[in-house]
């Protein structure tokens, strides 16, 4: 600004800006690459850790196809599907949270705001009440019911927050989401009191977020959601940047605010609901990963979205591995480990960064 009087200073300033931009791009790229490398390493290490241990050469041998039947069974049938499910669920929840915080412009927004966790949780409890914890009709009944619960809750939030002519203003969406969440939570409390010990234990674990889907079937069930929704969301990175500026600015910049918002909210709901259906209630990822991402690479969604997805994937897969091995052979729910590992790191970033 001071340079505007002297043309020499102006160009200097511009050069500085350019250099700063280049540095930033480079830094962002580095961070994304680091995240990706960490994720790859995590897959490798997680396949290695567990009740049955392998040495590093063994793992190489198994991955390249030279394993015995037993080794193949452990790595490819037990561990890999679970690792992949946790990666997909983490990425989906993180993306969902990132979209929501962008769309409603509130730091506290997470997929729970759309009623996803509450709706899914309610149906899980109802299922457990009527069918018990042992008699699963099929491995897909529970995830399917959870998905339906999440879908119905989200639809209710959207319908109640929608107003003709104004669409879904962010503030109305937030308040409606909170109200629906509280209402369903109240129903849940009434039901939870009536559960017996086993049922309660199951529900408590589900609420704390334990990944139960650990076979290739679940991977196949989860993958299409991401394959369809992630490209859609990535293609909307500019819209998300613009929506961040507020409805009126976004509208005058030419965004069709309500239409874009509806699409993005649906995508966020789909991502989170599929992840919650299979991964349980790991809501913390959706809240924290976007903030971590923003602190690492800034607010531009072109870089922010992939960073969030990678961070979410790393966070959940690492947490899931810790959850698997820390109190072997029993398990503590993954969601608990996610919060215990993720929160201190986030608080560290909060204390370090100025903005």
């Amino acid at each position: 600004m001071t340079g505007s009087r002297h043309s020499g200073n102006l160009t200097e300033q511009q050069e500085k800006n350019e250099e700063y931009k280049r540095k930033r791009e480079l830094r962002n790229l580095t961070i994304i690459v680091i995240c990706a490398v960490v994720l790859a390493a995590v897959v490798f290490v997680c396949a290695n850790i567990g009740y049955i241990k392998f040495s590093i050469p063994d793992i190489f041998r198994i991955f390249t196809g030279g394993g015995t039947n037993r080794e193949n069974l452990v790595v490819f049938e037990f561990r890999m599907p679970r690792i992949i499910v946790s990666i997909l669920a983490g990425a989906a929840l993180a993306l969902s949270g990132c979209i929501l915080q962008g769309v409603v412009r509130n730091d506290l927004a997470d997929p729970g705001l759309l009623g996803i966790n509450a709706g899914a949780g309610l149906l899980v409890i109802l299922y457990v009440m009527f069918f018990g914890t042992q008699s699963f009709l099929s491995v897909f009944t529970l995830p399917f019911l959870a998905l339906i619960g999440a879908g119905v809750a989200t639809a209710a939030v959207y319908a109640l927050a929608f107003k003709r002519g104004e669409g879904v203003a962010p503030m109305r969406l937030i308040l409606t989401g909170v109200a629906i969440q509280a209402g369903i939570a109240a129903l849940t409390t009434v039901l939870v009191v009536k559960l017996d010990d086993d049922q309660f234990d199951f529900v408590a674990r589900w609420q704390a977020g334990s990944i139960w889907g650990s076979s290739w079937d679940y991977v196949i069930a989860l993958l299409p959601w991401l394959l369809i929704l992630v490209p859609y969301v990535m293609s909307k990175f500019r819209v998300l940047d613009v929506l961040n500026l507020g409805d009126s600015v976004a509208g005058s910049l030419g965004a069709s605010v309500e239409k874009e918002r509806r699409g993005l909210l649906a995508a966020a709901a789909g991502l989170a609901a599929s992840a919650v259906a299979i991964g349980g209630n790991i809501s913390f990822v959706g809240l924290i990963a976007p903030h971590l991402g923003r602190r690492l690479v800034g607010p531009r969604h072109l870089v922010l979205l992939p960073t969030c997805a990678l961070l979410g994937a790393v966070l959940v897969s690492v947490a899931d591995t810790i959850a698997r091995v820390i109190v072997e052979p029993s398990e503590i729910p993954t969601g608990i480990v996610v919060a215990i590992v993720g929160a201190p790191y986030f608080l560290y970033l909060l204390m370090r960064n100025k903005h």
Binding site: R172, L175, T176, A179, F200, I288, I336, V338, I340
Partner: protein
Amino acid sequence: MTDNEEFANGQPPVRNKSRAGLTGMILSVGLLSLFFLMAFSITKGAVKIPLSAVWDAFFNFNGNDIQHLIVIDIRLPRAIASALVGAAFAVAGAIMQGTTRNPLADSGLMGLNAGAGFALAMCYAFLPGLSYMRIIIASFLGAALGAALVNGIASFRLGGSTPTRLVLAGAAVSMFLIALSQGIAIYFEVAQDVMFWTVGGVSGSTWEQVGLIAPVILIALALSVALSRSVSVLSLGEDVAKGLGANTALIGVFCSVIVLILAGTSVAVVGAVGFVGLVVPHFVRYLVGVDYRFIIPCSAVLGALLVVAADLFARNLNPPFETPLGATIALIGVPFFLHLARRQKRAV
């Protein structure tokens, strides 16, 4: 009254005066209804007690009459505890929303609920058989620990805490403590005990408890009314508040302490029924506008009304069983909140 005179003179009503008049009306009508609702709630319950017996219990107490004992030793402390806790949660929520400028903020954001829950899980896991009073005190200490963590982390950096940092630190610390207590509860198999304590609400309130919390909450309520002007200034945003000459850091500290006292004691006694702190300030803001000198007293009265009514429902929906207090609060609060969400214009 002044409003009517102004209208009669054909003058346009002065906006702030009409707000003050409305506030006065809400306060007087609210207090009156609170009194009648409490009297009504004392007569209702698993055992029906006629009003005449209630009257006798107050003015003609007979220690051998079971009805008199129920009124004086069970229902009255319970009604008073509900009113106190409701007022405390609502005012704490109003202060939080005003100072953080976030419509999602309530006292849970200060780490209070999570801290109390953590202490509770620790008590059940490691010190089983602790007395009722000790659990309450431990819960309050847990709430204080949560608040200290949140505020400490938010203001760690030079320049002190800003609302955004407070909100984020609060969310993260809460998640952390909740995860710890869930982990402890599941691992030591006390999750169900913890849950039953949390849904218990104000059942089992005694005069001992009321004697402990009443002075604390009443003093804190008075302090928050005294502080309401500063909260209004802070709710305009930190920059504006500084421009108006407010010492934002100092006000922030005061507000945090008051919220801790109000919500910390309440959480310790009834568990996390935080929805009161969310819904009541929103509703009051809808009625009386954005001035916290009006919002805070009205929140106190309406919060007390809400919890007394909710406890009345909790006891009478399915007697002799009690419906969880959190559920009945949501039952009353959620429709209001949905209505507000559709009507709202300005948020905080």
